[in-house]
């Protein structure tokens, strides 16, 4: 735990990934971190580079704090199963779009006698394959 506590938040189900505020402490936390962000942007005694570094540092800290909260959010077995199914479905949807994107790029550049596919599309698919393989290996060993 860094600053935020998991009990202040609930898992976001219907608006993408992340967390929703559950208690007043969560609301206070959000107001505080946003106020600090605004303060960093408005204080006059920093130059642009310093401001960028401090903003980046603060956003990195907030990201890590959020990941920590998401990791530690309490879920019972039914909620874990629901989350796993929802994440799997989301992964399938994204994979389908990525594959369609690759095919469209191959077709488009093929018509112009070139072979090109956006490396981020390929990278996302390769990372997905690696993560799936590692997950299956780990689960096979430990479960």
């Amino acid at each position: 735990m860094i600053i935020a506590k998991p009990e202040w938040f609930s898992r976001r189900k219907y608006g993408g990934w992340g967390v929703n505020i559950k208690t007043w402490q969560g609301a206070v936390y959000l107001i505080c971190v946003l106020s600090i962000l605004v303060l960093i942007q408005t204080l006059p005694f920093w130059n642009t580079t310093q401001r960028l570094i401090i903003t980046g540092g603060w956003l990195t800290f907030l990201f890590l704090d959020l990941v920590d909260v998401m990791w530690k959010l309490k879920k019972d077995e039914r909620e874990r199963m629901h989350e796993a199914i929802a994440e799997r479905n989301a992964a399938w949807g994204m994979m389908l779009v990525l594959v369609i994107g690759v095919l469209i790029e191959l077709l488009y550049y093929g018509l112009h006698h070139k072979l090109y596919v956006d490396p981020f599309l390929i990278g996302a698919l390769i990372i997905g394959v690696i993560i799936k393989a590692v997950s299956n290996y780990w689960l096979g060993k430990h479960d």
Binding site: D76, E77, R78, E79
Partner: protein, 65 residues
């Protein structure tokens, strides 16, 4: 899966939330179990059986054909 959770819970005077707290799940999970919409793990079934002070899991959970 059919369950007698509601019957035994009410006999003990427990609310859904109280039972949920005892077995460390959400109230929604207890509701889903009572309606027979969720098949629990063996561990959860065992915890619920103990919480309802029953000896055998079969008293609380019945598999429907």
């Amino acid at each position: 899966m059919r369950t007698n959770i509601r019957k035994f819970r009410e006999e003990m005077g427990l609310t859904q939330q109280e039972l949920a707290n005892i077995v460390d799940v959400t109230r929604q999970t207890i509701i889903a179990l009572e309606r027979g919409k969720y098949n629990p793990s063996l561990i959860l079934a065992y915890k619920i059986t103990l919480a309802l002070k029953k000896k055998y899991i079969e008293e609380v959970f019945e598999i429907e054909n």
